[in-house]
């Protein structure tokens, strides 16, 4: 499990935004995680309290948006959700697929004042 280490990075990144913008309170942190990225949203939530402990983010909410992984069929060019269709083209049943999205991992926004 590597989510805790990553969570510490995210907390640092948010605290920097807090400082740059002279914010006094952060209500929520919103992350975007691709379906094929190596982080598990459930684990991110699980280690959030540990990573924010002792910081001004202790009562901040964590929101994680999951981004669909899309692939393009190399045979018929159909774009489809690779996880939903289990990596098989729903149009021609080819398994020759190029992944075009799904490994994203972003700090999307924070809600603060």
């Amino acid at each position: 499990m590597h989510e805790l280490g990553i969570m510490f990075h995210i907390v640092d990144q948010v605290l920097r935004v807090v400082e740059d913008n002279e914010l006094s309170e952060v209500e929520a942190i919103v992350l975007q995680v691709g379906e094929l990225s190596s982080v598990v949203p459930r684990y991110l939530h699980a280690c959030f309290p540990a990573a924010t402990s002792g910081t001004m983010l202790e009562s901040t909410k964590l929101e994680v948006e999951v981004l669909t992984a899309n692939g393009i069929c190399q045979n018929c060019n159909k774009v489809f959700a690779v996880i939903e269709y289990d990596r098989v083209c729903p149009q021609c049943y080819s398994e020759d697929i190029e992944i075009i999205s799904g490994s994203e991992f972003y700090l999307k926004e924070i809600r603060a004042c």
Binding site: A28, A112, C113
Partner: protein, 220 residues
């Protein structure tokens, strides 16, 4: 009720570290030090390969090593027997090294003027792939007992590596490891990757690998 506003950030989680790593890479380049980041699963043979690599190159290059075990200095002691400078990094239980920790390690090592610094990263195929250490080149070791389907399970590690050592080929006959299939899978993920089948135990393939590394360090 307080008024909260939305601050759009849209920054990759790895952005800060990526910038930091890029700076470190440029700094090392200007100091003529080549940093090799060595990654693998636990027990794939990083330390054994390192010893063989050092033995093969230490007459031609000045070498130093950074060991990043989570909680012991066993590997650091093994390496120090080769006579090169070695430092044990404390990752504080973290599963990877980032550029900042790498920079601190280099400082602690007093690596200025060293031709080649090798970083033995934490044994793990996930996290080290996501945190750029600032290394000049990334090397990965996959050992035969782990299976030829590792590229399918851990694609990112194969994508970020510049060179792959397929280690423990001396025990190939005891495992259903298909070398050609494995290479094909890896090349599909990363067409430019260099691949060397080696045995850190018997020394097979070590010369090809260290010749390549020597040329990379010397920039030929």
């Amino acid at each position: 009720m307080r008024e909260f506003r939305v601050l759009e950030i849209k920054e990759s989680i790895f952005e800060d570290n990526n910038k930091d790593a890029q700076e470190l890479r440029e700094q090392l380049k200007s100091e003529n030090t080549f940093l090799l980041n060595l990654m693998s699963s636990p027990g794939a043979g990083k330390t054994t390969t390192l010893v063989k690599t050092i033995e093969s190159l230490k007459e031609r290059l000045s070498i130093a090593v950074m060991e990043a075990d989570i909680d012991s200095d066993v590997d650091a002691r093994t390496i120090s027997e080769t006579g090169v400078k070695v430092i044990q990094l404390h990752t504080g239980g973290m599963c990877h090294l980032d550029a900042d920790m790498t920079r601190q390690g280099l400082k602690g090592l007093d690596a200025k003027g060293t031709d080649l610094v090798i970083l033995e990263n934490v044994g793990n195929l996930v996290c080290p792939a996501e945190f750029d250490t600032g290394a000049t080149k990334n090397a990965m070791i996959l050992s035969v007992p782990e299976g030829d389907d590792k590229p399918l399970k851990y694609p990112l590690m194969f994508k970020v590596s510049d060179v792959l050592l397929i280690n423990k080929i001396d025990v190939m006959e005891y495992f259903d490891f298909d070398l050609d299939l494995c290479i094909e899978r890896v090349k599909k993920l990363n067409p430019n990757i260099k691949i060397f089948p080696i045995s850190a135990k018997t020394g097979e393939g070590i010369k090809e690998w260290t010749d390549w590394l020597y040329n990379e360090v010397k920039g030929e």
